[in-house]
Amino acid sequence: MRYSPAAGMARVISSFTGLGKKYGLEWWILVIGAFIILAIITMALFSSSIAPFSPYDQNTGSQLAPPGGEHLMGTDNLQRDVWSRIVHGSRTILRVAVLAAIMSSIIGITLGLISGFSGGFFDRVTSLIMDSVYSFPGLILAIAFAAMLGPGVINITLAVSVIYIPTYFRLVRGQTLAIKEELYVEAAKAIGASGFTILWKYIFPNVIATTVVVFTLNVADAIMIEAALTYLGLGLPPSIVDWGMDLAMGKKFLPSGQWWLITFPGAMISLLALGFTMLGEGLAEILNPRLLER
């Protein structure tokens, strides 16, 4: 069968708009979010090809130049091209945020499943710890951890990941507790299914949908926390290219009006966080319109 590229495109577009009509606003929010994320991921993956200069290059010719001409976003006080630093910075932030989210989710979900399912002393102690961490301001905890662990990519990832573990824990534990009481689980137990089988086959699949949503929002939060940490000077050494750090450095030039040093990094942080948030929100409303109101 042969498809002309035009026909193929037309089919993709029509299925897009078809889903759009079905789900309304949420679908478009999801699409926009996904688009933003993909764009920035592309930026991260192909940063060397996209960025005109090296982010470390201190000889680009002009110091503190406003945006224009060769330098799309201007240059900083060390003659580095801002746009190149933005492009390369995307790698750092994505790496830390996504990795932290993955770590959080694995630990949080596992603990939540076990705790919810087995109950008893373990459950009580773990819940207590999780609740304490959860009610404490995340950023401050992250600051404490980052300060303790010192600078470094691994360290900052660890610091960021700890914050979100309780969120997954509570979510999964709650669902596990609810599903545990369902009749079909009783039935499975009656025919001799082991604890692990029940966890894997019954509880886990139910938990996945909400977890995916939480994951995207987790990444969004992780992005914000990572940037906040580096802005405060904790977490990463100055040798690594990072949006938060660029913001901190650009802050010094604010009084003299060199706005491009802070505007672009900050906008990128917002944009990336927004992308993940939109993806998460769109997914949430589509997957479970009951839970979230309309």
Binding site: L25, L128, I129, D131, S132, V133, S135, F136, P137, G138, L139, I140, L141, I143, A144, F145, A147, M148, A220, M224, A227, A228, Y231, L232, G233, L234, L247, K251, L254, P255, G257, W259, I262, T263, G266, A267, I269, S270, A273, L274, T277, M278, E281, E293
Partner: protein
């Protein structure tokens, strides 16, 4: 309540454990740091209960004193931040619920999502840029201007209150102007959450029978939305407020660094750079206490506002 104070502890114990490496043997003996960790920890807890947070490692200063000097600034900023968040969040949320599915609703909801994704400090910097540099109408740092001396009115540390008490109204004006940008920065970012919450609650409340019954009595629409419905929707919002105090504290730290606001957040960071562990621990414990107290206060307010809980 006690549970919520605990979070400070795992962190402080870890930080406490970090210190010994940095201290020479003699000092170690002196400070009792060569005792087993659990004993140190219990000892510290006992100290805390007696409101003694120890001495700063870096400055010749009692930690409690250092914190007490900076705490009011943070509290003042937080209060104004909350006020802005509430005003913006609640009214925009109610308005969006009223104009459901119309343009205003979508715009406000979009604003809610976007605003949350904007880093507090970036918002602060941009506001500083626009209002402080380009338009030059608002100050971008500190709590008071160059010609105002806090010592002339300082009593509680809450400058708005102090200047009113002393009736120094020009100073009051100065203090308020300095509050505008930081409070807005703090308040705007959190308002997104409240908008969504208020809107959701309002939509539920507006479906209620008593709303229809009030309509049937000829009560005008705006009163129905902003008096009848809002008061009912407000209660769950209050509870949510308690949970947001944590976010507020986090935001305060970032706002303080951006605006050179002499509060606890800045203190925390300062001391982290200086590796002044006792102070760091102290600040974290105070923050935990603040969060716990705030939750308690919210519970009390809840009981006052909802008559059903009382009887």
């Amino acid at each position: 309540m006690v549970l919520r104070v605990m979070p400070g502890d795992p962190v402080s114990s870890m930080l406490g454990g970090h210190a010994p490496e940095k201290v020479i043997e003699q000092k170690k003996q002196e400070l009792g740091l060569n005792r087993p960790l659990p004993i140190q920890y219990l000892d510290y807890l006992w100290q805390v209960c007696r409101l003694d947070l120890g001495d700063s490692m870096v400055f010749k200063q009692r930690v409690t004193k250092a914190i007490a000097e900076k705490l009011p600034a943070t509290i003042e900023l937080s209060i104004f931040g909350i006020l802005i968040t509430l005003f913006l969040g609640v009214f925009l949320g109610a308005y969006a619920a009223d104009k459901r599915r119309k343009v205003q609703d979508y715009v406000i909801r979009l604003y809610g999502i976007v605003v949350y994704c904007i880093p507090v400090y970036w918002m602060g910097l941009m506001l500083q840029l626009i209002f402080g540099i380009w338009f030059d109408v608002l100050p971008i740092a500190g709590r008071t201007g160059p010609r105002v001396f806090a010592s002339t009115f300082e009593k509680t540390g809450l400058y708005v209150l102090d200047t009113i008490l002393v009736r120094d109204f020009s100073a009051l004006g100065d203090v308020l102007i300095h509050l505008i940008l930081p409070a807005f920065t703090l308040g705007l970012v959190l308002s997104g959450i409240f908008i969504r919450l208020t809107r959701a609650n309002m939509l539920d409340v507006l479906k209620a029978d008593y709303i229809t019954a009030a309509e049937a009595r000829g009560i005008p629409h705006s009163k129905i939305v902003y008096k009848h419905a809002l008061k009912n929707a407000f209660i769950p919002i209050l509870t949510m407020m308690g949970l947001q105090i944590a976010l507020l504290m986090a935001g305060a730290v970032l706002t303080e660094t951006t605006f050179s606001w002499p509060g606890m957040g800045r203190l925390l960071l300062e001391r982290i750079y200086l590796r002044d562990y006792p102070t760091i621990q102290g600040v974290i414990i105070i923050i935990a206490l603040v969060v716990a107290t705030a939750s308690l206060i919210v519970d009390i307010i809840y009981a006052i506002v909802d008559p059903r809980v009382r009887y």
